[in-house]
């Protein structure tokens, strides 16, 4: 039994308690504690990257203890490749978000950092939980700090946006809770055991009509969080009115909760319903891709433009996921990380100029590349990453998704590709309007280029963008078994093909056993695509 995940999970919370003890007048002390704690939180999560064994298909760093024994709820943590990468993204973005707030937040500093750190624990907990009730607890824990972050430190329309964010997400999550309870009782009816253990649900086979209803319940919870068209309108408001760090966390991590929910719960627990709903999911995704991009093109508010680009990018992630093939799923997960990196950086970039000029109107800017050359260079790299320029991370994700979508349907691929083109259009149009041309607004003539602290918030994102763009293999390798696990559950063709090259697994036995992946992954002579594995990994 090790406590590694708990350590990562509760470090930010301990920091929040420490700040609680500091008098609120000592603002710099509070800032230092928050920054140090968030940075430690990131540093202690880094070994996860090295200690995680990508060859094993099982959940790792398992922690298990009774929590509410009378209902069968447990304190059950564990990670696979998918959650490992998302946890690392969370700790990194959390640290960046805390650092980015140093000068931006001047009121109620103490409360601000406490909320930010509590939020961090909530997000990490959701990615680590393998107990559905525990997951739901952390899922709800995230809502409260974010509500206050938007509502107290936000801009003009903050109260409206905060309440909208809170209620919208709550509606979805309450319906999701009903779905969780339906599974809980159905599992009890099957096995006589009351449990919220997600890994047990992964092995169970629920009947089709139950799956149908539970999928819809989960869909509402997760689709609002992603957000998918037509449940997306909370996002531009929340993003636009949140303080910079709030937007960064919201874009980089909170949106991933929705996609993570689909990957961890909907697809493997409800495979039949997932297949059944592919047309609906794909149509909504395609609408989201094109619609989000076109609406982004029409924006006059810089931050709102980036927010709508998120709608488009996350729809891209969803279409990749619902190809239900290994390439598409891998691309979908990689693109989630990419979106975290590039959109997180884009919100940071807006925050930098917003702090200097206190406006987000695109027409207020222009020619900034003359006065802020370093800023313009970083913005260009992140714009290119968001567009999907080869050698940067966005390309890898978009390429894998398009490849997966193409295999599933060429018509879908056509629509998905149009999103990439429109993405280039709105991002370059934004870049041109803000960075190029003459400095026409006298208020922009004396803008300071980014400070060292601000550069420190961008540096890790720039490194990751280039790393993932040039050598994504370490990331892809960590995702292999997670993707395989999902595909074997959800896609009978791939499961059959997989069974063919793994003679110990016959299709019949595959159908009979709940979770083929976990049992047979130890000795696998071929991968999920049917390609023989290289000798050193057999």
């Amino acid at each position: 039994m090790n406590y590694y995940l708990s350590l990562i999970l509760f470090t930010p919370l301990i920091g929040a308690f420490l700040i609680l003890l500091v008098p609120k007048e000592k603002e710099d002390a509070i800032r230092w504690i928050a920054n140090v704690v968030a940075f430690i939180g990131f540093v202690i999560s880094v070994p996860l990257w090295f200690w995680f064994n990508p060859a094993s298909g099982d959940f790792q760093f398992i922690e298990r203890a009774p929590w509410i024994p009378s209902v069968g709820a447990e304190y059950f943590l564990g990670v696979d490749g998918l959650s490992t990468l998302l946890i690392l993204l969370t700790t990194m973005m959390g640290s960046i978000a805390v650092l980015s707030s140093w000068t931006a937040i001047t009121e109620r500093v103490k409360e601000y950092y406490i909320f930010l750190l509590v939020l961090q624990t909530g997000m990490l907990g959701a990615f680590m939980s393998l107990d559905f009730l525990l997951f739901f607890l952390f899922w709800e824990v995230m809502l409260v700090p974010m509500y206050f972050l938007i509502g107290i430190w936000g801009s003009a329309n903050r109260l409206y946006s905060a309440i909208k964010f809170f209620l919208y997400t709550l509606v979805g999550s309450v319906v999701m809770l009903l779905g969780i309870l339906a599974l809980y009782f159905a599992y009890h009816a099957q096995t006589g055991v009351y449990t919220f253990d997600v890994t047990a649900y992964h092995k169970a086979g629920f009947d089709a009509s139950l799956q149908w209803w539970v999928f819809l319940a989960f869909f509402l919870g997760f689709a609002i969080k992603v957000p998918m068209f037509p449940f997306h309108t909370w996002l531009p408001d929340a993003h636009t009115d949140a303080p910079t760090a709030g937007s960064v966390i919201l874009a980089a991590v909170l949106l991933k909760m929705g996609t993570y929910g689909f990957l961890r719960f909907s697809l493997p627990i409800l495979p039949d319903a997932s297949r059944h709903f592919v047309p609906m999911m794909v149509v909504l995704s395609i609408i989201g891709i094109v619609y989000g991009a076109l609406v982004a093109l029409a924006q006059k508010d810089w931050k709102r433009l980036v927010a709508y680009s998120s709608v488009s990018h996350m729809a891209m992630v969803m279409i990749g996921m619902f190809t239900l093939n290994p390439v598409g799923l891998t691309g979908s997960i990689v693109q989630q990380l990419n979106h975290g990196i590039s959109t997180g950086a884009l919100f940071l970039l807006v925050g930098v100029v917003y702090e200097r000029r206190h406006t987000r109107e695109i027409s207020e800017y222009g020619g900034l590349s003359k006065v802020m050359p370093v800023y313009a260079a970083i913005f260009l790299i992140m714009t290119m990453s968001s567009i999907g320029l080869p050698t940067l991370n966005g390309f890898i994700g978009e390429f894998l998704i398009l490849q997966g979508v193409f295999v599933a349907s060429k018509v879908w691929a056509l629509f998905a590709a149009s999103g990439v083109v429109l993405g280039a259009a709105y991002m370059l149009y934004l870049y041109q309007r803000t960075m190029f041309g003459k400095v026409e607004n006298p208020k922009n003539e004396r803008l300071l280029d980014i400070s060292n602290r601000e550069f420190a918030t961008f540096a890790p994102l720039l490194i990751l963008a280039v790393w993932m763009g040039i050598y994504p293999s370490p990331f892809l390798r960590r995702l292999e078994t997670s993707v395989q696990h999902i595909v074997l559950r959800v896609s009978p063709q791939y499961a059959a093909k997989y069974a063919e090259c793994n003679p110990t697994v016959t299709p019949e036995r595959l159908a009979a056993s709940g979770n083929p992946a976990a049992k047979f992954l130890a000795a696998v002579p071929c991968d999920i695509n049917g390609n023989p594995l290289p000798a050193e990994r057999r």
Binding site: L294, V295, A298
Partner: protein, 244 residues
């Protein structure tokens, strides 16, 4: 801007010498430099004509390419007929084409010199005389304008339309839901105050109102009560006697 142009000019003058064709006594270095890419294709056509025993069905393309390159080298060493006829039969034509292209270039330079250096007024005159053609050419056949008017403004209009749709319809539905909640809560409040609490108050009111009638009996005068008792006894006794 001048320096890059100078560098390019040097390149333009010198670069041609790496490819002096055989027709005028050069050895066309650039063609040989590119040879592996071109000969492979030629050789493949050659190899396709006579199938070789070591060709496999699956890897045919690659293997043929590889073996065929060897063939070509053999062909080059022993002057093959096909190769010779392909390159050297048209030597006269080649020189003729060269002379022609040279002529066209010189004529172009001469015309430009005349129009823009010796007598610039000619070009203006021409522009005036063929105003329509001049305008079309100056505007690059209006291709940019065509795109602007169709694809680009269409996309932007679509974006603006959807943005309005997003605010009015999609977000309108969300705000409509919130409005519905507010209205129904107001209505619930109204119901609560008037109907639910109204029933409670109604009970009180009924009790109060009916007391108006009953409290007349409660006069507090002993004579009245004694009188009433007497009437009661009389009534009961009468009933008893009548019913017996």
């Amino acid at each position: 801007m001048t320096y890059p142009l100078m560098a390019l000019a040097v390149g333009a003058i010198v670069a041609g010498f790496v490819g002096i064709p055989a027709a005028i006594g050069g050895n066309n270095a650039i063609e040989h430099f590119l040879e592996p890419s071109f000969t492979a294709e030629r050789a493949e056509a050659h190899a396709a004509a006579e199938p070789r025993p070591n060709d496999t069905v699956a890897g045919g393309q690659i293997e043929r390419g590889a073996t065929a390159t060897g063939d070509v080298r053999a062909l080059e060493h022993a002057p093959g007929a096909a190769e010779q006829s392909g390159e050297h039969v048209s030597r006269g034509l080649e020189i003729g084409l060269m002379a022609f292209s040279l002529l066209v270039a010189i004529a172009g330079i001469a015309v430009a010199y005349k129009f823009y250096v010796i007598s610039p007024e000619i070009s203006e005159e021409l522009a005036q005389r063929f105003a329509g053609a001049h305008r079309t050419l100056s505007n690059k056949y209006y291709v940019d304008e065509l795109y602007n008017a169709t694809v680009i403004s269409g996309t932007f209009a679509g974006g603006r339309g959807l943005w309005t749709f997003d605010r009015k319809v999609v977000d309108g539905a969300v705000n409509g839901t919130s409005w519905l909640t507010v209205v129904s809560s107001w209505f619930s409040g109204l119901t609560d105050r008037n109907v639910v609490d109204g029933v409670v108050n109604l009970v009180g009111w009924i009790v109060q109102e009916s007391s108006l009638a009953f409290r007349r009996f409660q006069t507090g005068l002993v004579q009245n009560y004694a009188m009433l008792m007497l009437f009661g006894i009389f009534a009961f006794v009468s009933v008893y006697l009548l019913m017996r």
